[in-house]
């Protein structure tokens, strides 16, 4: 059975055609079976998409949604503030829908560094399977990306970032990054990146098939001292929500040490009716006691 690929309408002539390596990558993905999938989804191998039928009216918006969600999750899991990525372009994708209107999306997309260095144009590539649970947030994600920063270089940069932050006078209190003019002081850049890392977790968890997020601004931050030398940030980010256009303040508490998994707790404010959305990363130890009144 030849897979029918939905190619993206790209502005300008033509569009990417699936190449042999791409097809191989995607077949590999299909054969991998489900991972990070909650109960209730197909969780199948190969072409046994029981209960799933191909989503004929695949909208390009859905693939963008899936790419964003996959990358938020990837960034969070990678736990590396110096290796954050953003979506560059979706190359291929297809989707299935089931009777519960849940959607499963397979896609391939390119990425860029979130914080690109001068003149750096390198693109990374990711393939992902994303399960959207209709209007419910926290899509299940299985994503693999090509390594586009050498592991040792990445570790080195993370460690430099860590050292830089350790040198900032604690307790550090900061407001508004970037400032109104979009400026981030170079000395505060690592703070923004670490905040974005924590924000990625929140944005992943809040994403649904229909809503997505960008991090607009860090509106306050407190850095706490820890006994084990980890970086401990207690901060508020403003998330910009599509399609509602709302600005959602989320209080986030993260604990980070280079090379260790990120620990995140958060609490976002809803519109008018306080929609408490908070989450704790699975298996994480609870953060220092200073934050008992969250």
């Amino acid at each position: 059975m030849q897979p029918r690929w939905q190619l993206l309408p790209a502005p300008g002539p033509g569009g990417p055609r699936p190449t042999a390596p791409m097809l191989a990558l995607l077949l590999l993905l299909a054969l991998q079976g489900a991972a990070a999938a909650p109960a209730g989804s197909a969780g199948s191998t190969g072409s046994e998409h029981s209960g799933w039928r191909q989503d004929a009216e695949l909208q390009s918006g859905l693939l963008q949604q899936a790419a964003r969600a996959a990358l938020h999750f990837f960034n969070f899991r990678a736990g590396s503030p110096s290796a954050l990525r953003v979506v560059s372009a979706v190359q291929q994708g297809r989707a299935w829908v089931n009777s519960k209107k849940e959607r499963k999306v397979d896609l391939v997309f390119t990425t860029e560094r979130y914080n690109p260095e001068e003149g750096e144009e390198r693109l990374g590539k990711c393939s992902a399977r994303v399960f959207f649970r209709n209007e419910k947030p926290r899509p299940a994600i299985n994503v693999t990306c090509t390594r586009f920063v050498e592991k040792s270089k990445r570790q080195q940069e993370d460690y430099l970032l860590y050292k830089h932050m350790k040198q900032l006078k604690t307790p550090l209190e900061v407001v508004s990054i970037p400032d109104s003019h979009g400026h981030i002081d170079p000395s505060l850049r690592p703070i923004w990146e670490l905040a974005f890392l924590g924000g990625s977790y929140v944005m992943w968890e809040k994403t649904t098939q229909f809503s997505h997020y960008y991090m607009a601004q860090l509106s306050s931050l407190k850095q706490w001292k820890t006994n084990d030398n980890a970086i401990d940030f207690d901060y508020t980010v403003l998330l910009h929500e599509f399609p509602t256009q709302e600005i959602i303040p989320c209080r986030i508490h993260l604990v980070w040490y280079p090379g260790k998994p990120l620990k995140v707790k958060y609490h976002c404010h809803g519109l008018q009716t306080p929609e408490e959305a908070s989450g704790i990363e699975e298996g994480s130890a609870v953060a220092p006691t200073e934050l008992s009144n969250f």
Partner: protein
């Protein structure tokens, strides 16, 4: 309080000290600000004792708390020696953060005022920075004064809070020629758009008589440019909330303020794609054209009667959109609009490679009712487009000022494409 390098933080700090100085008629000549490091509880205690010695007139900016927490204190000139002797005698470490507070204040004051110095002409105006409302209005007046034959300023109405709403008219003559309308800043937080509008205004005056395409356009048509389409909201983004989107009108019965001016037009008004909750960012208002900022444009467009292209500029997402947003029905001119959009984004990308997607609002972005260009299109203005400028989410609304000019430059190429097509396809 730490001394971060960011100008605005420092400015705020200095401002508050200045204010204190002005109000309290103090000066700070010879005052020093010390940062004390208390190594243990005992030392913290010692410093706390200092606090109680009123005659020293110490002003703790960051008071003694726990060990390892810096203690910052302003020490009047007369107490400096005594305090230092005390600290040294007890082996308490300190550094001098500010040697002479007054000279720092003087320097900062100079800087602040220099930063705010008005440009005296549109040639010295800074296009690569974001300006507040009064500076933009000042720019408009300068531009008109410098090019009285080409540019005039029209007042088309007043905002909810009573500010004048201005439109620049670029015309080489004629009588009610077919016209192009461009507006920026209808959503106040989208700062790159107002900034681009300023750049467009200057560009038009520079290119008339120099650039064949623009010259031809202006020899045949007029251009109307409304740079700050939501002045109340814009002021609010400078003074209170950088991320404010809507107008600032009061909704009776609600504590929430403002209506989304891009949901307030009479096209599919109130249908799905807008909110009836006054607290929402997409609140459509009590009725279509309830917002004076919107009504002013409606009245202008209707009374002009000869507008042939209407372009409303937003950020961010990098999209070029045409009607409709309130319905999935394709616009009758869908094919032509799509083709033209494609040409326009190609032209845009030619400069810096910035990729824009294009399509109808409902397909390319989301369902939105009561939108500007749906109304203008239904009025018969065929070439109705909405732009969403840079970027795609990395900085979003807080686009660094360094990107203003590149954004304006590339967008201008797309605008010219649309304007030329409009001129060459009269209807």
């Amino acid at each position: 309080m730490t001394f971060p390098t960011s100008c605005s933080m420092r400015g705020l700090l200095i401002l508050s000290v200045l204010l204190g100085a002005v109000l309290g008629k103090e000066d700070f000549v010879g005052h020093q600000v010390l940062r004390i490091s208390a190594a243990d509880e005992a030392q913290v205690q010692k410093v706390t004792e200092l606090e109680y010695l009123e005659h020293l007139q110490l002003d703790f900016w960051r008071g003694p708390a726990q060990p390892d927490s810096p203690i910052d204190v302003r020490v009047p000139f007369s107490s400096v020696q005594a305090v230092k002797v005390f600290l040294e005698a007890h082996g308490i470490d300190y550094t001098i953060m500010i040697e002479d507070l007054q000279s720092l204040l003087d320097e900062e004051q100079e800087q602040m005022f220099a930063f705010q110095a008005r440009a005296s002409s549109t040639d010295t105006f800074s296009y690569a920075t974001y300006h507040p409302l009064d500076e933009i209005y000042g720019f408009m007046d300068m531009l008109v004064a410098e090019h009285p034959q080409l540019v005039s300023k029209l007042k088309i109405g007043s905002t909810y809070e009573g500010r004048p709403i201005y439109v620049l008219k670029f015309s080489t003559g004629g009588n009610n020629r077919p016209a192009i309308w461009i507006d920026t800043g209808i959503h106040s937080r989208e700062w790159v758009t107002q900034a681009s509008g300023i750049w467009f205004a200057k560009k038009i005056t520079q290119d008339y008589g120099q650039d064949p395409a623009l010259t031809s356009i202006l020899d045949n048509m007029d251009i109307f440019l409304e740079i700050v389409t939501n002045p109340d909201g814009f002021v609010f983004t400078h003074t209170k909330n950088r991320l404010w989107r809507k107008t600032r009108s009061i909704t009776p019965g609600s504590s929430c303020i403002g209506v989304d001016p891009n949901r307030n037009w009479d096209a599919g008004f109130g249908k799905a794609g807008a909110s009836n909750n006054p607290c929402s960012e997409t609140y459509h208002g009590k009725f279509a054209n309830s917002e004076t900022e919107v009504k002013s444009i409606v009245d202008f467009v209707k009374s002009h009667g000869n507008i042939k292209a209407f372009i409303s500029i937003h950020s961010y997402s990098q999209l070029l959109l045409y009607p409709y947003g309130y319905t999935t029905d394709p616009a009758p001119d869908h094919n032509e609009l799509d083709e033209l959009a494609k040409s326009a984004v190609t032209a845009l990308a030619s400069l810096y490679g910035t990729k824009f997607k294009y399509g109808s609002i409902i397909k390319a972005i989301y369902r939105a009712s009561g939108g500007t260009i749906d109304w203008t299109y239904n009025q018969g203005i065929k070439y109705s487009y909405t732009f969403e400028l840079r970027d795609t989410g990395r900085y979003g609304f807080l686009l660094p000022a360094s990107q203003i000019i590149p954004t304006a430059q590339e967008t201008w190429l797309a605008l010219k494409t649309i304007m030329e097509h409009t001129m060459n396809h009269p209807y």
